[in-house]
Symmetry: C2
Subunit: 223 residues, 2 copies
């Protein structure tokens, strides 16, 4: 589903260069759940943003469905993100002037076969918070709205950056169950960045990043 | 150091009332490291914000150094926060137009006996990121700047909301070591909200919150 080859990302800051990705070769297979691990600053979010068409690589190629995302224009990338990708951001990115339900609805209204917002929010345990604004929600509740928004559009690809970082283990398990169910029932190709070792148990594949490179790939025989 | 009694916090949303805190009785003792655990939405951040003078309780009392924070005026609270409290927010709250070093310097410039910003940032492993702006930092790097800012002023009280949520275990351990060192070397009264079980091992006291109440207090005989 994804074939990334030699992906580099360089940030230029005045005279300095930060090599966030130093040549990533990566495959994501249809219907699989892949977990991405790595130290703080190792390039995980940068890589996920590129796979999701939110950022562009400096070099290399990322092939999805016959297209190279690295060479795609803005219009193509926008359509790709809208029609194919559900994204959970490390910083949630909720619209502060909209309620939880409205934040999810904004995304489902332009989707082809979405879940009702209430159903997605119930999957993450927020049926009692539908009309709260982000400022009226705890950290973990805001994170769960972001997850509901990503899964409600039933995307072909689900990319999650730290979906359980702000959650206690009980709530985190509930959220992982929702992600794992989307992956299993819809065949959604799923990639999850996490520091939570529990998620590794449900993964088909675990990719370890280190200093902008793939250090190791483990394949689980769980299915 | 802190004596909280019957603390309540009610949020009013139109017709509805959310009872975020339903009568908290709590003691924090000088020089101790207290960990606060509890499910997402159980009231941890709300309680910490009240202890830090960032929010006001609806009822009850919070005594610190002979003052009741619940009845203090804004001027008293501002001086209390500035002179006594170092706060690590769940959402980091960095100033996006300032670099990492400047974000820390803003706080040390008005402190009585601060660390140099560079030293605080080195304690959390960010000596290589001093001139980056928040938008040029990874999630975990932003979180570590927020921690450096809180410890640099060598506060009498250190309140941390999820200081290691976005960090891998190796970086998280480095950050906890910095917090634990401030607590031990300076005698800083420290309260840490976390979902990370590792921190429990270094705590003198563990407080479990559930639905806005204290469910359980464990005392460790570690020192
Ligand atoms: N401004 C507000 N208006 C209405 N309800 C609020 C407001 N702020 C918080 N709440 C509610 O109060 C409850 C407690 O929130 P709090 O942020 O203290 O939880 P928490 O224990 O820190 O959770 P988490 O682990 O998810 O960060 C939550 O159920 C939340 O929905
Ligand atoms: N806009 C930018 N300009 C300069 N450097 C950047 C920029 N964005 C990220 N970086 C740097 O690139 C590196 C990789 O960042 P990235 O956000 O991908 O890390 P991460 O693996 O997601 O870390 P974390 O676990 O802390 O979220 C970091 O060292 C960071 O400082
Ligand atoms: Mg990241
Ligand atoms: Mg919180």
């Amino acid at each position: 589903v994804f074939h990334a080859e030699g992906v580099t990302k360089v940030y230029r800051m005045g005279e300095m260069e930060i090599h966030a990705l130093r040549g990533i070769d990566l495959e994501l297979y249809a219907g699989e759940l892949t977990v991405m691990l790595g130290a703080s600053g190792s390039g995980k979010s940068t890589l996920l943003n590129i796979l999701g068409g939110l950022d562009s690589a400096t070099g290399g190629s990322v092939r999805y469905g016959g297209q190279d995302l690295v060479r795609a224009d803005d219009q193509t990338l926008t359509a790709y993100r809208r029609d194919h990708v559900g994204f959970v951001f490390q910083f949630y990115n909720l619209i502060s002037s909209l309620t939880a339900r409205e934040n999810v609805a904004v995304v489902t209204e332009i989707a082809r076969d979405p879940m009702p917002p209430e159903e997605a929010l119930a999957l993450v345990g927020l049926e009692g918070r539908l009309d709260h604004f982000p400022s009226q929600l705890s950290g973990g509740e805001q994170q769960r709205v972001a997850i509901a928004r990503a899964i409600a559009k039933r995307p072909a690809v689900l990319l999650c950056d730290e979906p359980t970082g702000a959650l206690d283990s009980k709530t985190g398990v509930q959220v992982l169950a929702a992600i794992e169910r989307i992956n299993r029932e819809l065949g959604t190709t799923t990639a999850v960045i996490t520091h939570n070792a529990v998620i590794g148990g449900m993964a088909d594949r675990v990719i370890h990043l280190s200093d902008g490179r793939v250090a190791q790939v483990e394949v689980n025989q769980r299915r």
